[in-house]
Subunit: 296 residues, 2 copies
Amino acid sequence: MDIKAYLESRCKIVDAALHKYLPGGKAYPRVIHEAMRYSVFAGGKRVRPILAIMTAETLGYKAERVLPAACSLELIHTYSLIHDDLPCMDDDDFRRGKPTNHKVFGEAVAVLTGDALLTFAFELITRNAAAKGVKPAGVIEALRLIAAASGTGGMVGGQVVDMISEKKEPSLPVLQYIHTHKTGALILAPIMAAAELCAAGAKEKKALRIYGENLGLIFQIVDDILNVTGVEKKLGKSVGSDAARKKVTYPALYGIEESRRKVRELRERAGKAAGHFGRKAALLNALADYVIERES
Amino acid sequence: MDIKAYLESRCKIVDAALHKYLPGGKAYPRVIHEAMRYSVFAGGKRVRPILAIMTAETLGYKAERVLPAACSLELIHTYSLIHDDLPCMDDDDFRRGKPTNHKVFGEAVAVLTGDALLTFAFELITRNAAAKGVKPAGVIEALRLIAAASGTGGMVGGQVVDMISEKKEPSLPVLQYIHTHKTGALILAPIMAAAELCAAGAKEKKALRIYGENLGLIFQIVDDILNVTGVEKKLGKSVGSDAARKKVTYPALYGIEESRRKVRELRERAGKAAGHFGRKAALLNALADYVIERES
């Protein structure tokens, strides 16, 4: 299993689809469509759409079956980064080594760009109803899952708790809440949305949920470890920026070694759940390993 | 037809539904749920949800048939006001006579509150699938219409053009674009979404679309006239604030008298379209008259 080649190939499918789905950069009113494309094509790794595609493939379907919903997750992820970077939020000037949306287009346009991407994400999911074999009820449930994962019971909730905890002593329950909501929810959502669009059975859904929950935690803890140990150039953001802001992170609370041990434990749980799919588990396992071994 | 009593009674249905649908104000993380409820229950007249209910009733159904989708429109309207009021946008301290969301909760929470309301709006629409007689495909089409009306081809597009036109000389095409997109789209959307949820026929949809398009224009021009002539207390915002900002408005371009004539012309067209529903047109006509005669 050459996971790097796999990710590159699926990334191309996602990029081509995003180009096709998004309104043209010259469409009126031009500034907002330019700004949307600027951030969507600013070098994202398409992790969330690829998770949806990977799930569809594990269940025996092709990418096309879940492509609009898969891409909607990238739009939601992008909107959240644009709003996070705003001066009134994290006040970041750079993201993935490029000036943030508000630095290029101004704050007002950046707010509206986030709003527009979030809105368009949901419009895009409805197009999944046209995919062969997908039932309307499956689209509705996928959309509901994605919305719930993005709102105050998911990503926005995690963002709020992260914000109000910044200058306080970190506690484990708060840390776990932030991880499972701010990052984990949008790692789990593409997997479960794809499961709905592929009409997965109850046992398949249960295995995918356990896999996805553990993968989400791995993702966040590895991210926090990289923030402490990573090379600035590779990450495209300042190393140690979490510590400087006194953000609640796993390494800050337990140190690097214990954080790495925790990652191994979560990886084992994810692998056990993936085992449900027998030989088809290879993709799920390879991706989990890749997330752990990545350097940026 | 006692339109005031009708509006009051439907407003109560909408308020009760919003209270039921929205997460509790004490639900964790508390600040975001408090902030959502603060702005949703800040005295809105529930025009958009009532338009959806009115459409359902004109088509022979009860409010329950369209209630989640109807309420979603109020959440989208509220999110747009919260983001519009931000310091980087219109920088307004008061809205409907109350301090704006960011004045009470701070800018970061206000951005996230808007995001959360927009996200929850789409989650809420999916609940309409549980309403008796509603088909999943109808819910998907209603959601698609609402998303399209809220994005860069609708409300956000209108907002962008309004923003970039502020310090320029107003032109009629620009003015019409702003009116039909910034306000009109979210007046038309509840009507057309309700038509989908009630499985209206092609001729009914066509009549409702013409009615809704004209009502949207009436709504915006009357709003602009009130901004020039209205009483500050009744409007809950500063009279003449559009002129102070050099906003493109109908009265600024054509004067009050010509604006009033235009409203009468639009009213006639709306009435002609409503005529399709025979005796059932009473509600549509009474509402159009009410919008024209309102003082705030």
